[in-house]
C-alpha cells in the first residue's frame, strides 16, 4: 500500500503526464478533464503540507492522500510504474536501445579466438542472451554436449567446448 509520501511523488509525476497528454490529444484533450493537472497540483500541495507535520491521524492523512491517488487515475498508474520504492526513477529498458547482435567466424583474431572460450561483452550487460553456434541454438544447461554460460550482471560469456577455427558464433541480446 502506498504511503502518503509515495502518493505525493505519484501526483507530482501524474501532473505533468496528464498535462502533456491533454496537449497531445488536441481538441478537448481527448475527453480528459482539462483542469485535471491543476486539480492534481492543488490537492497535492494541500496533502504535502499536511504530510510535513507528523500528525497523520489527526489530519486524516490516509483519506486525503487516497483521494489524491484516485484523482491521478490512469496517470497515477503510469507514475507508479516510473518510481521505485525508494523514490528514484527506475531504469526502464527500451527495445529501441537493445544492442545490435554480434556475429563472427572463429579465427586467430576474432572476438573469441581459436582455442578461446570466454569474453566480456559489456554492451550486452543487463540483457539476456541467445547464443547460436554453427546455426544451432545453444542451451545454458550442461547436458554433456556444447552449452554456454552468461552473466548478465558482468557481461561474461563462456562457451563449452572452446571455439575452433571456422565456427560461426551468433550472439543475440534480448530483454
Amino acid at each position: 500500500m502506498s504511503t502518503p509520501a509515495d502518493i505525493i511523488k505519484i501526483a507530482k509525476i501524474s501532473q505533468y503526464l496528464s498535462q502533456n497528454d491533454i496537449e497531445n490529444k488536441g481538441l478537448y484533450g481527448g475527453g480528459t478533464d482539462l483542469l485535471l493537472p491543476q486539480k492534481i497540483y492543488n490537492i497535492r500541495k494541500s496533502v504535502e503540507w499536511a504530510n510535513s507535520y507528523n500528525q497523520p491521524i489527526e489530519l486524516n492523512l490516509d483519506s486525503t492522500s487516497n483521494y489524491l491517488n484516485a484523482l491521478c487515475g490512469k496517470y497515477g498508474l503510469e507514475a507508479n510504474y516510473l518510481i521505485s520504492p525508494g523514490g528514484s526513477v527506475s531504469f526502464v529498458t527500451s527495445p529501441l536501445s537493445t544492442p545490435n547482435p554480434i556475429e563472427f567466424i572463429i579465427s586467430g583474431s576474432s572476438l573469441i579466438a581459436n582455442g578461446g572460450s570466454s569474453v566480456i561483452i559489456s554492451s550486452f550487460i543487463g540483457f539476456n542472451l541467445l547464443f547460436i553456434r554453427n546455426g544451432i541454438s545453444q542451451s545454458s544447461i550442461d547436458n554433456g554436449g556444447s552449452y554456454f554460460t552468461w552473466n548478465k550482471g558482468t557481461g561474461t560469456f563462456t562457451c563449452y567446448p572452446a571455439a575452433t577455427t571456422d565456427e560461426l558464433f551468433q550472439l543475440y541480446p534480448f530483454i
Binding site: 483542469l35 497540483y41 490537492i43 494541500s46 486525503t64
Partner: protein, 177 residues
Amino acid sequence: MAFAQDFTTSQTVGLPSYISITDTSTGTPSATIASRRVYFITANATYLVQEGTITDYETWAYSAASKSFNVLDKDYALYVKVQWLDSSNVVLYEKTSLIGYTLYNESFDYQMTQRLTGNPLLINDDSFFEYKSELRVSIDSGDQAISLASNIYNAQQAYDRATKLRVNSQYYFNTNN
C-alpha cells in the same frame, strides 16, 4: 568561537495563533546575556504583541531555549527581530528574518481537501475548485514573495487575498455539499 546569533520559528497544527521561537545561536557571547526581546513587525510597520503586553516587543528569558507567543489573528508576513540583551538592557546582538506564517490558510485549504474526500464530485462544482485554486495560488504567491524577493508588502497582500476567501468561505465554497 565567536557568538553567532540565530533563531528558528515554527507553528503547530491546531494552534495557528501561536509562533514558537527557538534560539539556535552558537558560540560564546562576548558579554553576559541576560534576556531577549522579540519584535513581530507587520508590513504596515505595526507590532504584534500578546494581549496585555504594553510594549512593542515580547520578552523572552535567556534561560528558556524556546518560547511560544500568541500574537496572530490571521496569516502574516512578519519581520521577526530578536535582540540579545545584557543586564542593563543594552542590545548585544540582533537578528531579523522575514517569515511567512500561513497556518490559518493552509489549515483551511486542507479542510477543503478533506471535504472533497467525503464528496469527491464537489471538485467539479464550478465555484469550489475555482476558489480553492485562488486560495492555493494566493498562499504560494505570498510564500514566493518572501523566498524569492523578500517583499513583505506583496506577501501580505497575497496572504490577505487568501484570508478573504477563508473568512468569507460561506460565499465562495459550496459548503452544503
